[in-house]
């Protein structure tokens, strides 16, 4: 049923991109070259991975392949041929028939790929009806079959459900079902995993592999995580600033000496190398330079396990040498949320936290991991004072947090999406010293000096201090958010999925920065995360949560030997994704 109704002069070649250039007009009038003179060919049933840092033009390429570029983007030059037919000259009606039926797209954010006010079923039906003449029952049969194929046991429930009633993983699977229901010959997957937790990531990955086999699809898989591609891509192209800088098999690329390519394929190198270089970090963290990369992990496990064991033991021991009162103590925290149904009095009570105990020592870094919905974020929000627990207590340096003073300056939080956490109209300096203004600290001049000093500290150019926060890139915004958190001179920093939105090289840079700051200021970190990237390099202790309870407390090293199925599942999924830095657990 693969319905690219075009004649194909060259049966092996499905897609041919030649000399493609795409430009964006920015709001300030400048022109951004998103894609420059790009050539790419994809054969029938071939799967090509596109690897690149954010802003390298990956997504613009995907959009251009469907002629879905946003209004401020322009297709400047070049041609895209699909089975010998040129996309640029394709009439609108034919283009529409090709989208969805010939080429399908899975986009980055499953929550944002589905219409929030329409039931999932109707959205799948509309795709079917756009390409085939089917009546209601046929539509229903096809969608039910498709939903079953993406792994839903109860497709009828999904058909009736609205997107907000599904979990992140369910939404992404529903979006995949919607994209593949017309059995396209070519699938473009634009970072389909980046917003999912490790276990769901690996489920979705397996699903895509299976569909690729069964539907004999060609595939363009866009990602910033090289680990994923080993399972999925026949060939990988690396993009930088709109150009393809390298291509080949993934293991060939792994030996590429180019620093940009290396930073994408071995992002943990950036972390370990610089960490050793910084005199503050090296002494407490042992020799981490010998950590193997994701790709060569199996071969070098035995050689390095000694080193990494050393490192982890040291970091676990280190904080215990300090005073006996923990910086933060959480006792028996319990929090429930209530949801009500439509036209019914039935209430669903979700127990987000169930008698959680936790204690953090000064200068330690503890990671709380778990699948989405396991209560990690609620824990962070209760500790930071954004939510009040139904039961239990949060003690800061042995003193219970006053109820009248819910947010304490000693505890600062950094959120997942720095872009939305910053007021884009504030300048960088204003964003940073805002906590000081609120606390009524210092004169205007002192605040500004502090802002400049903090910008230097987090690796931002102090000359940019008058720039609006909105003009900083994603990674820079996250640094800005970090500087703001540091302005209040906190003792504890809560990082709520603070890196999930960043690509791996940027994640590595941020972690490096955090480790640096920790050794300089004796900060304590509570890292909330759903993936295990870099976890062994960062955290000395891991707390595994599931369904609002802490199921296990362990070190990154011992996670693998855990008897808990939740921990096992997280570790196995992370291995499948080749999470960088995870191999130190071996």
């Amino acid at each position: 049923m693969s319905s690219l109704n075009v004649v194909s002069p060259n049966p092996e070649q499905l897609l041919r991109v030649s000399g493609l250039s795409v430009e964006y007009r920015s709001a300030s009038g400048g022109i951004i070259h998103a894609v420059r003179d790009l050539d790419l060919a994809i054969g029938e049933q071939e799967s090509v991975g596109v690897l690149g840092a954010s802003g390298s033009g990956k997504s613009s390429l995907a959009a251009a392949l469907l002629r879905l570029l946003p209004a401020n983007a322009e297709w400047v030059a070049g041609d895209i041929q699909i089975r010998g037919k040129s996309l640029s000259t394709l009439p609108r009606a034919e283009l529409r028939r090709m989208r969805g039926a010939g080429i399908a797209l899975i986009s980055q954010e499953p929550a944002l790929a589905l219409n929030p006010v329409l039931p999932v079923g109707r959205q799948i039906h509309d795709v079917l009806q756009a390409h085939f003449t089917l009546d209601q029952t046929q539509c229903n049969e096809k969608s039910v079959a498709m939903l079953r194929a993406v792994g839903f046991d109860d497709p009828e429930r999904i058909l009736r459900a609205y997107p907000h009633q599904l979990s992140g993983g369910e939404r992404q699977r529903a979006a995949i079902a919607q994209a593949l229901v017309c059995q396209p010959a070519f699938l473009i997957a634009d970072e389909p995993l980046s917003s999912l937790d490790a276990v769901t990531q690996s489920e979705v990955l397996r699903l895509l592999q299976r569909f690729r086999r069964e539907l004999k699809m060609a595939m363009l898989f866009i990602t910033h995580n090289a680990g994923v591609l080993s399972a999925l891509a026949d060939r990988v192209v690396v993009m930088r600033a709109g150009e393809i800088v390298a291509s080949g098999k993934l293991d060939e690329l792994g030996r590429n000496p180019d620093p940009y390519v290396r930073s994408l394929i071995h992002p943990e190198e950036a972390l370990t190398a610089s960490n050793a270089a910084s005199t503050h970090g090296a002494s407490t963290r042992g020799d981490v330079r010998n950590f193997p990369s994701a790709r060569t992990y199996a071969a070098t496990v035995s050689a390095t396990s000694m080193n990494s064991a050393n490192f982890a033991e040291q970091t676990v021991r280190m904080p215990q040498q300090e005073g006996s009162t923990p910086l933060l103590e959480v006792v028996g925290l319990t929090k429930e949320f209530t949801q009500r149904g439509f036209l019914s009095r039935k209430k669903f009570t979700v127990r987000a936290l169930d008698a959680v105990d936790l204690s953090l020592r000064q200068g330690s870094a503890v990671a709380v991991i778990g699948r989405s919905g396991s209560g990690k974020s609620t824990l962070a929000r209760v500790i930071a004072g954004f939510e009040r627990a139904d039961e239990g207590q949060v003690l800061l340096q042995g003193v219970p947090k006053e109820k009248s003073q819910p947010i304490v300056r000693e505890v600062q939080m950094i959120f997942q999406d720095a872009g939305t956490a910053l007021n884009t109209r504030f300048t960088a300096a204003e964003s940073i010293y805002e906590p000081l203004v609120i606390a009524g600290q210092g004169t205007e001049l002192e605040r500004r000096q502090r802002a400049v000093q903090l910008m230097e500290e987090v690796g931002l150019d102090p000359d940019w201090y008058g720039r609006p926060a909105g003009e900083f890139s994603g990674g820079q915004k996250q640094r800005l958010a970090l500087a703001r958190a540091l302005a209040a001179d906190p003792k504890l920093l809560i990082l709520d999925e603070a890196f999930s939105g960043l690509d791996l090289p940027l994640q590595a840079q941020m972690l490096r920065l955090l480790l640096d700051l920790q050794s300089r200021h004796g900060l304590t970190y509570l890292l909330i995360t759903h993936d295990l990237n870099f976890i062994s390099l960062f955290a000395s202790e891991v707390v595994v949560m599931d369904e609002g309870r802490i199921v296990e407390r362990t070190t990154p090293l011992r996670m693998r030997e855990s008897s808990q199925s939740v921990t096992q599942q997280l570790v196995r999924s992370a291995e499948r994704m080749h999470a960088p830095g995870l191999e130190a657990m071996a």
Binding site: L66, L68, P70, R96, R97, M98, R99, G100, A101, A104, L105, S107, E109, L112, A113, L114, N115, P116, V117, L118, Q123, D126, V127, Q129, A130, H131, Y162, H164, Q165, A175, Q178, A179, C182, Q339, R340, G341, F342, L343
Partner: protein, 322 residues
């Protein structure tokens, strides 16, 4: 849902109560009343005036007067008119019906025109069609209703195709049912047109801007990437997602049913609530004014209630919060 509605209904009743109380207190603050003008009339003796004041109960203290008014509301009379010496409700009821006869079709037509045009304008944003609509709505917004109504009268006078004002032709009450309806429609055409032109622009603009926000969203791009037809995209996917602010606006439309035609009624001598309200305010016919304001408030409450129910039905996310 029932509990949600009951709660909303309770709020509405509280609002009505509060507005009535406020009206009584405010009118107390204004100097004079319908009867105080009698003092100026040398033919009415002071004793007669006093007797009249006592008869109408105007000399009573405020809480007492409020209580008496509440009693008459319970009886469905809404107080009494000083000028006509009948219950305010018997004066208001036929006028309210006449006003609704004008405003309900006018607002229905307004929405029927504004929604598709707004959707089309958003889909062809920045193109000539959108610019044409944008110029048209700017013009309509800039034009005072008064001028529109006068223009309509001018058209009627010049073309002789439309009646110049009023609601019925002379002697229409003797005609057959169908002829009477035709006559009524004839008289309605111009005032309805004036109201529609005056109220279509803000709605069209609101439809356009909330559609644009939705059309720029990632799920609309994803849907476009799935190859949906343009009209399916616009009306089945984007419009429901853009509906929330529009529904609130619709509630306001309902609330405005008694007031939107006020000026047109006065200028085009439509026997609605407008001319009566004007006259009552000028002659300080207190209870007629209060009755009219209370009816407007009632419509506001009803409009908001309708909007709430519609929102509840259209947006599944609101059901979670309610």
């Amino acid at each position: 849902m029932t509990r949600y509605l009951l709660r909303r209904l309770g709020h509405g009743l509280l609002i009505l109560f509060g507005v009535s109380l406020l009206l009584f207190i405010l009118q107390q603050a204004a100097p004079g009343d319908f009867l105080s003008d009698m003092k100026l009339n040398s033919q009415i003796s002071e004793g007669t005036a006093k007797a009249l004041r006592a008869q109408y109960g105007v000399d009573q203290p405020l809480p007492r007067r409020y209580g008496r008014w509440m009693l008459s509301v319970a009886k469905g009379e809404l107080g009494y008119s000083f000028a006509y010496n009948v219950s305010a409700s018997s004066l208001l009821a036929p006028r309210v019906l006449n006003t609704l006869l004008l405003s309900v079709p006018a607002l229905a037509i307004t929405w029927i025109i504004a929604v598709p045009l707004g959707v089309v304008a958003s889909a062809w944003r920045g193109r000539w069609l959108d610019r044409f609509f944008s110029a048209g709505t700017s013009l309509a917004l800039a034009m005072p209703d008064l001028l529109l109504a006068l223009l309509a009268i001018l058209i009627a006078l010049r073309t002789h195709r439309y009646p110049v004002g009023g609601m019925h032709s002379v002697g229409a009450q003797d005609w057959g049912w169908f002829a009477r309806m035709k006559d009524l429609g004839w008289h309605m055409a111009l005032p309805v047109a004036v109201v529609v032109i005056g109220s279509v622009s803000p709605i069209l603009r609101q439809v356009r801007s909330s559609m644009i926000a939705v059309l720029d969203s990632s799920y609309m791009r994803a849907a476009e990437g799935h190859g949906l037809r343009k009209w399916t995209l616009l009306f089945r996917h984007a419009l429901p997602a853009a509906a929330n602010p529009l529904i609130s606006l619709f509630g306001l439309s309902v609330a405005m049913l008694l007031s939107v035609t006020l000026l047109v009624e006065v200028v085009m001598s439509w026997p609605g609530i407008g001319p009566l309200l004007l006259e009552s305010i000028l002659s300080r016919d207190l209870f007629v004014v209060i009755g009219a304001v209370m009816l407007s408030t009632l419509l506001l409450v009803i409009g908001n209630l309708i909007a709430d129910v519609l929102l509840y039905a259209v947006d599944p996310r609101i059901r979670v919060q309610a």
